[in-house]
């Protein structure tokens, strides 16, 4: 990646940025070089994750939120990375999030990039984090990351975002859904979108109850019969972070409640910085990144050193039930060791 392109990107050249993003997404050597050159300039942006089930209105909410952020006095630059699923059969994808973000398109302070998940599970693509670094270095103050329409366990976003927003809609299930482990647990802010629909207040109550169970002192509702009063004592009370996820109602389509959402995002950002959690999160994120890079690098190294024939031979042995996959792994590993000696 020529130094000129990097300085163009830093100066705000959007084509340079867009091309760097493609290199990063493809995982090329040029992309890696760009990331290395840009890394010292990262760490400034507030990364906001938005996740929730398909059709809950994530894209529309992102649209409304980006508009709200741009209306701030400082007119911060806003980047949006929208991830949609790749077909497991053909490798193709239809990325349709822009359809809901049309009113952002005349604004040069907003950059929307669609991304296919390319086989990654967990709601993001493998390179989503790396792409967010390029936006960060290009001076985008807010980076909104919209995940694939998520079910119950696509929780990777929590390692990437400073503030995670989980979007729900009325009528998604009874209160047992809301106490399951998984996606609802990761929320820093919970949003009941489409809140003009029937059952919105009930959804809000379910979610508030779920949260109240985790915080003994908290009473959203229920007086002495409130759930939290009867829950077993937790080790630390209130939560060590001191942040209790608010439950908000929005109608993303017409922007109702989005001002309140933006306020909570600012509040959460401030909270993270004041409590030192901002740095702690960054540390956890770096640890996770290194772990993933290590796995993929070791795998690549192993794969390159492994002759096709030998691998096939061992696969066949497993196929014939002569070897269990556990034993096969041992053999594959020791094969590599032998060749090195």
């Amino acid at each position: 990646m020529p130094a000129e392109q990097i300085s163009e990107l830093r100066k705000g050249n959007r084509l340079a940025l867009s091309r760097v993003l493609s290199q990063i997404e493809a995982g090329t050597a040029k992309g890696d070089q760009a990331l290395e050159a840009l890394f010292p300039y990262t760490g400034q942006a507030h990364k906001i994750g938005i996740t929730g089930p398909p059709g809950s209105g994530k894209s529309t909410l992102v649209n409304a939120l980006a508009r709200q952020l741009r209306a701030l006095e400082s007119h911060p630059k806003v980047a949006i990375i929208a991830v949609d699923p790749t077909s497991p059969f053909t490798g193709g994808a239809i990325l349709g999030d822009r359809v809901r973000m049309q009113d952002l398109q005349g604004d040069k302070g907003i950059f929307i990039r669609s991304m296919a998940s390319r086989g990654a599970l967990g709601g993001l693509a493998a390179q989503t984090e790396m792409m967010s670094q390029a936006f960060d270095a290009a001076g985008y103050e807010y980076i909104i990351i919209e995940t694939v329409g998520a079910g119950q366990s696509e929780v990777d976003i929590v390692n990437l975002a400073h503030t995670t927003i989980v979007v729900d809609v009325p009528g998604m299930g009874d209160d047992i859904q809301s106490i399951k482990a998984g996606i609802l647990e990761i929320a820093d802010i919970l949003v009941v979108n489409k809140s003009d629909q029937l059952g919105a207040d009930q959804s809000v109550k379910h979610l508030q109850n779920m949260i109240a169970m985790g915080y003994r002192g908290l009473r959203y509702a229920g007086g002495k019969h409130r759930l939290s009063a009867t829950m077993p004592q937790k080790q630390d009370e209130p939560e060590p972070s001191g942040w209790i996820p608010p439950v908000l109602k929005t109608i993303a389509f017409d922007g109702t409640g989005v001002d309140k959402l933006a306020e909570e995002i600012f509040k959460h950002g401030k909270h993270l910085k004041e409590t030192g959690l901002w740095t702690e999160k960054a540390e956890a994120a770096i640890t996770e990144t290194l772990r993933k890079l290590m796995i993929s690098t070791l795998y690549k190294q192993w794969r390159q050193a492994m002759p096709e024939k030998e691998l096939e031979n061992i696969i066949n042995q497993v196929l014939e039930r002569n070897l269990h996959p556990h034993q096969a792994i041992q053999q594959l590993l020791s094969y590599n060791k032998n060749t090195k000696q």
């Binding site: 959007r14 084509l15 193709g92 994808a93 049309q102 669609s114």
Partner: protein, 134 residues
């Protein structure tokens, strides 16, 4: 190294609201392993060029059934060039009278498709055009 994915922007410029054709083509390209970014209806030339810039696509596919192709298509090609994206291959589909096709090709459209086109032909043309560009 994963193979380079072909990224295609499928856009509906102008005022007609008939996007069945665009969606069928988008689906066919998806099934051929491409990444298709769909913009939605009623896009201006500026919006399309802007989306192409942000998404760094290899191909822009336009669908026009309003009869405004002679006005819209040259504007879009010009906007793409103004953004420095001369490398993008532009395809056009819709209701385009035969008399207009030559003029559009001269303006820089790679190929024009009418009703009844086999989507496999479109996929093949795109793959060939993109590999020629690379």
């Amino acid at each position: 190294m994963p193979e380079k994915k072909i990224r295609v922007l499928v856009a509906k410029p102008g005022l007609d609201g008939h996007d069945r054709g665009a969606k069928v083509v988008a689906r066919a390209l998806r099934d051929d392993g491409m990444e298709v970014i769909y913009t939605g209806l009623r896009q201006t030339p500026e919006m399309i060029a802007e989306a192409a810039l942000q998404e760094d696509v290899d191909v822009v596919g336009l669908s026009i059934l309003s009869g405004a192709h002679n006005a819209l298509v040259p504007q879009i090609i010009q906007e793409l060039k103004a953004n420095g994206q001369d490398n993008i291959v532009v395809f056009l589909g819709g209701i385009i009278p035969e008399d207009d096709i030559d003029g559009l090709l001269k303006q820089g459209v790679h190929k024009v498709y009418g009703p009844g086109t086999d989507t496999r032909e479109v996929c093949k043309d795109i793959r060939e055009a993109v590999s020629a560009e690379a």
